[in-house]
Symmetry: C2
Subunit: 154 residues, 2 copies
Amino acid sequence: MLRVTKLADYGIVLMTQFASYRESQTHNARDLAAEVRLPLPMVSKILKVLAREGLLVSHRGTRGGYSLARAADGITVADIIRALEGPIAVTECTDKVNGDCDLERVCPVRSNWHRINEAIREALEKITLAEMRRPFPPGLVKLTDPRSVRTFHA
Amino acid sequence: MLRVTKLADYGIVLMTQFASYRESQTHNARDLAAEVRLPLPMVSKILKVLAREGLLVSHRGTRGGYSLARAADGITVADIIRALEGPIAVTECTDKVNGDCDLERVCPVRSNWHRINEAIREALEKITLAEMRRPFPPGLVKLTDPRSVRTFHA
DNA sequence: CCTAATTAGTACTGATTCGGTCTTCAATGC
DNA sequence: GCATTGAAGACCGAATCAGTACTAATTAGG
């Protein structure tokens, strides 16, 4: 588990596909669905959301379609997940702004979850579509031994 | 989203609680539930699974209960998640061993998902219960710029 | 201006999973 | 042997997921 939904999964596949096109060229839902071999209604639905969230721009009418809203290296995996399934929050208490978990005060786990969540979010934030298009270099994310850590982002 | 289930969430809280006890002292489900303020049946169910998966040892009968199977620094967040919700796999295709996704061959995204998944898994693998007990040092996970990466785990 | 193509928006549905409870059985200590 | 505790699993309502269908709005092109 710790699973991303199919919406996000497909969404990333689709966006990666866009990244492999020449820029500013529009492609319609039907052709895209055929290319990535996913059901048209799903593709259609996902593209709509991605457009609404500002990752794609849409062009209606005959010979309309979608194209990337920004350059491929300006769109991250985190962007896509956020667009399709909301803020990245591994647990409920990393999501809600405040005051809902009555354990807040005493829960020693909470602050740690926040950090773990941040780490994951940042990892996804660093991966751009441009990098997804090709096999990206290994070692993108590197773990440091907690015992040897000095300071980092406050 | 990218959410962990409540089972794993609660499981981590419970295990952290164990880590704060003197070792090899057993605690029963009822007391634990009261301490962390979670419903007893849930706590009971989770402890059972954790015992079955070898993270806790159980002692039946009067004055029975559970205790950690290993030292707190030998149990990781990844262990707990795996015990309660199976292998850590962000997408379906990072999970199944092989051959189910007919896109396998052509899908350029697949290998990248694997790496992302590995990164997340490793991050969780590095965080032990001993570290969860207290606020752990910041900068546990550090991202490197893909353009400056040389080599790392093959 | 008409028509075909295409996206926008939304409602709907079946299946699955989640979160949680309950019941029954097995083991253990006193 | 009896009270206490865990083991195992059935069960259920609610939420979410994955996917479909339908209607309205917009545009290009003749």
